[in-house]
Amino acid sequence: MLEIGNLNAGYGDMPVLKEISISIGAGQIISVVGSNGAGKTTLLKAISGIIRSKGAIAFNHEVISNLQPHAIVRRGIVHVPEGRKIFPEMSVDENLMMGAFLHQKDYRRNLEKVFALFPKLAERRKQLGGTMSGGEQQMLAIGRGLMGNPKLLLLDEPSLGLSPLFTDVVFGAISEIRNSGVTVLLVEQNVYQSLRISTRGYVMETGRIVLSGTGVELLDNPAVKTAFLGM
């Protein structure tokens, strides 16, 4: 569904991503893990067109490299950014409406789905986004992304800063989203939980993919164990 070949990207003159190649099949959860500054967020930004890149990104056999971000969203790639980036002075309802910006027709149907996934949002519809707790904002950010009818959902550290309880809620939601037919590209620091639910995983280090395999393979890999799982 998404094929990335020899992707290079960076900020100004500074290269960050070096020769990244990743392949994602429909209906999978794919994880990208790596330490701080490895370039995970940069990879997602390159896919969603927020930053320019060199190399090939093809989505359902169409080259989408360097399209404008709104054109990429239109094709069904929706990016839930690191740090949530909720619209702080909009209510929960309005945030979800903005998520549906390109899909007004499906608004009601998607809204029901989002409220079924995160019942808490349904109780807070009038609350301003900026006044919600971190965990609630994360649910809102994922819900807002789902309002855009994603075929491929890019999630950047959805469990960052969440309590164990909220983390479980978020990981549960990710599995449900995949089960509903949406492909997920997941960037996470919570290596154990994310590899456990992933079809495949990639390990990134200083802008390169250094290791890849199925979720189970990576969890058993000694290098992964020492670097990320503290074993």
């Binding site: 067109g49 927020i50 980036k85 910006f101």
Partner: protein
């Protein structure tokens, strides 16, 4: 009674200032650009109303149906051609560009219309009526205030409920997140600048019947618009509305109790005072630049 009189004229004029202030604030919020050509756009609105009146004999308030869309298109075009190129640049580049655009406008106006001030006199320009024995209300000020209220209410509705209006607010709250929603943010910038220009020109047209029309008339309005934006909090539309009314009243009070010559000085002192003591403004959340 003098107090009540100044309060009423101040509020009526303040409504028009608010319109200009809202325009500047919207541009700042959506684009993060301080528009130093704002006063000159207002001056162009004054001339537009003047020529529509003298050449086509259309009342300046009616002429808004021409001035507003023309100014919107002009602003939209300016953004697409010039401002759009510096939107990711440092603030000093944006300031230089908008100052340059403003200079081109005011100097073109000087060449085309000469520096002689013009006066737009309508049949009701100096008519007024008394609401109390010593308190009168000027007809043109009241008319322009009522038009301002309608435009402001429409704008609030547009920003609050319409799809494009909500997208403008989203862009001003978080530009990157707005992009990720599928909003074409560069189009939003052009729309914001178009609306900002239309509001500036409308404010210009509304004060044209009660003001000297002059190529450099924009300068004092630039200062006023800035003060309003800073007072209300940069980027806040509600703040700019209240800020405009406050500036109008303060100006009228200082004309009455100090001297007409001092009113610009008072506005400037207020501008500095706000920057010093409350840089985020009365309603602002974003810090000042």
């Amino acid at each position: 009674m003098l107090f009540l009189q100044s309060l009423i004229s101040g509020l009526l004029t303040g409504g028009v200032y608010a319109l200009a202030g809202i325009g500047m604030s919207l541009v700042f919020g959506v684009m993060n650009v301080s528009n130093f050509a704002h006063g000159d756009l207002m001056m162009l609105g004054m001339y537009m109303a003047y020529f529509v009146f003298t050449l086509l004999h259309i009342d300046p308030y009616i002429s808004l149906v021409l001035v507003m869309p023309a100014a919107f298109v002009f602003g939209y075009g300016l953004e697409k051609m010039f401002i759009n190129r510096v939107i990711h640049h440092p603030h000093q580049n944006q300031i230089l560009l908008t100052i340059g655009l403003g200079l081109i406008m005011s100097n073109t106006a000087l060449l085309a219309f000469t520096s002689d001030p013009r006066i737009l006199t309508t049949s009701y320009s100096s008519s007024s009526f008394n609401i109390l024995r010593d308190v009168s209300v000027s007809v043109p000020l009241l008319l322009s205030f009522m038009i301002t209220c309608v435009i402001t209410a429409t704008l609030y509705l547009f920003l609050g409920k319409s799809r494009t209006g909500m997208a403008l607010r989203a862009t001003s709250q978080n530009r990157e997140a707005a992009q990720l929603m599928g909003i074409n943010v560069s189009r939003m910038s052009a729309i914001a600048f178009g609306i900002g220009t239309a509001l500036a020109a409308t404010a210009g047209a509304l004060i044209a019947p009660t003001y000297y029309i002059h190529p450099l008339a924009g300068h004092s309005f630039l200062l006023k618009s800035f003060t309003i934006c800073v007072l209300g909090g940069l980027g806040s539309v509600v703040g700019a509305t209240v800020g405009g009314l406050i500036i109008g009243v303060i100006e009228a009070m200082s004309s009455t109790y100090i001297s007409t010559d001092w009113k610009d000085v008072v506005v400037f002192v207020l501008f500095l005072a706000v920057l010093l003591f409350r840089p985020q403004g009365l309603f602002g959340k974003k810090g000042g630049q």
